[in-house]
């Protein structure tokens, strides 16, 4: 039973990676040993205060969030980066409003040896541009990824994409030189307060409710691109991890499930699955095809 996987030339001692924005520095120490890489909350060029509350709504087997990328900006973020050093590769998630923003962020991060890979958040449903999610169409995915890859100077660039148009987006990212794609981001969702007769929250849906949608995106993208896939969306058990890998994921991100479970338990369950089946983690990748 071997948990190791290789992703973009990096060895991950487990295939689990936290999803951006779900694993703060307060949680990092408590989950040491579980994750094959660390991935802090998305950072933007300038500080962002985030969206006014309410920012959360609970849904059947899931939740909607609309945080709005609250973060201290890349310079402050870099000063606090050591808090995320647990001896495993550090991935950094970035977002901007223009291709130039992504390019600037990638240049800044590529110059720091602590950063081993950069994930482009191209699909945050809570930050909009011109009524469309930024990078909602393949042409802009390609433009942004190309700019990011050029600025990253050889460091692996991962493109995190929306569920809608996942295959086309993954193909565009691959054409533009992405080292991997992360599928999927939260799904655009709405909560309505019937009693007050008003919208309670407009945001992104996560949790076990979206798992089948995410699995399908991973499965189809696996057939369409040659670069590795990080599966993400509703992963909450060790069996879920196995399912995403079988559908084609090389590594699997744990998001909001980390709020309601100890990620150690998820890793324990996944290890149990490997022991029962007599397989190594890497044997699972795409094996359902």
């Amino acid at each position: 039973m071997d948990l190791n996987v290789e992703l973009c030339g990096l060895r991950l001692h487990t295939p689990l990676v936290p999803a951006a924005g779900t694993h703060g520095k307060e949680a990092v120490q408590a989950s040491e040993g579980v994750y094959g890489a660390v991935l802090p909350k998305t950072v933007t060029p300038q500080p962002r205060t985030g969206n006014p509350p309410p920012r959360l709504a609970e849904t059947p087997a899931g939740m909607i969030n609309s945080i709005g990328l609250q973060n201290p900006g890349v310079e402050r973020f870099m000063e606090e980066l050591d808090a995320f050093d647990t001896g495993v590769p550090l991935f950094v998630s970035v977002a901007g409003e223009t291709a130039g923003d992504y390019s600037l962020l990638c240049g800044r991060l590529a110059a720091d040896d602590r950063v081993r890979a950069i994930e482009l958040n191209l699909s945050c449903p809570n930050v909009e541009r011109g009524g469309l999610y930024f990078c909602a169409v393949p042409a802009s995915v390609e433009e942004v990824v190309a700019a990011a890859v050029e600025a990253a100077g050889g460091k692996p660039v991962l493109a995190k994409l929306a569920s809608e148009g996942a295959v086309e987006g993954a193909q565009a990212a691959e054409r533009a030189g992405a080292a991997a794609v992360t599928l999927i981001n939260t799904l655009p969702a709405l909560a309505v307060d019937a009693r007050r007769r008003e919208v309670r929250l407009r945001g992104g849906l996560s949790g076990p409710a979206i798992k089948p949608v995410a699995l399908r995106a991973v499965y189809e993208a696996f057939r369409a691109v040659g670069i590795p896939i990080l599966g993400c969306g509703g992963v909450a058990t060790g069996t879920d991890v196995a399912e995403f890998m079988l559908a084609g994921a090389t590594a699997v991100q744990i998001g909001s499930a980390g709020f309601v479970r100890d990620p150690r338990e998820i890793l324990r369950e996944f290890s149990g699955y490997l022991r029962e089946t007599g397989l190594d983690a890497r044997d699972l990748i795409g094996a359902a095809h």
């Binding site: 703060g24 985030g50 920012r55 479970r261 150690r264």
Partner: protein, 222 residues
């Protein structure tokens, strides 16, 4: 988040409140909170999230929380023999008590964080008065706050050396005031930024790690 499965030792109704007690080893600060869910939620993921509760009391290895049934999550917790609980989290009331008499005030029935605080102040011999805004169905909670007065508004608090509040609202200027807030939470450990509280100087703090007890002057809506 790490949860611990515990058996509910007792459940008691005090008007619309229920006191839930469960065994707990370890200490807690007044004003800290725990996340609780019914044990069945662990595998069903529905309701998905645990619910945050102020620690009501901790005595002789027994933790208690105060619960009012608001929806499906609280109803499940209220009726479960087995629950899953997190360790106490967050910043509680700071114990830097100024010399003089202090006031403990609870707005709109949010009495829970004041119970352990009041007991600790009593142990330290701090003179205090307790004022509670309660709905009629909440009045039986007075059993746990001997000497407390039920009020519609808090009147003039300017004679007090400090105010310890629970629930949002205006406080008299010039008096040190700490206030416990209640926010919906997802992670409870600083990761998700869901429990944002607006700050007086702009921006937001997280109720789960920078709070749930804040200096009142730090907050925008006090």
């Amino acid at each position: 988040m790490r949860f611990h499965r515990v058996r509910v030792e007792s459940r008691e109704r005090l008007g619309s409140y229920r006191v839930l007690r469960y065994p707990w080893e370890g200490d807690v600060e007044p004003g800290q909170f725990v996340l609780i869910r019914a044990a069945s939620q662990r595998t069903s993921f529905d309701p998905f999230l645990a619910r945050p509760f102020s620690v009501y009391d901790l005595r002789g290895g027994v933790m208690s929380v105060l619960l009012e049934v608001r929806g499906r999550g609280t109803r499940l917790i209220a009726s479960s023999e087995e629950i899953e609980v997190s360790a106490p989290h967050g910043r509680g009331y700071r114990p830097d008590v100024p010399a003089g008499r202090v006031a403990l005030i609870a707005r709109e029935g949010k009495v829970a964080p004041l119970r352990l605080l009041y007991r600790r102040l009593q142990e330290r011999g701090v003179d205090h008065d307790i004022f509670l805004q309660l709905a009629a169905a909440q009045v039986p909670i007075l059993r746990d706050f001997p000497g407390a007065r039920v009020v519609d508004d808090f009147g003039d608090l300017s004679g007090y050396a400090a105010v310890y509040a629970s629930g949002p609202g205006a406080v008299p200027p010039g008096i040190p005031c700490q206030v416990a807030v209640e926010e919906m939470m997802a992670c409870g450990e600083g990761s998700c930024y869901g429990c944002a509280v607006p700050l007086a100087g702009g921006g937001y703090a997280r109720a789960c790690v920078e709070g749930p007890v804040f200096e009142a002057r730090e907050l925008a809506w006090i």
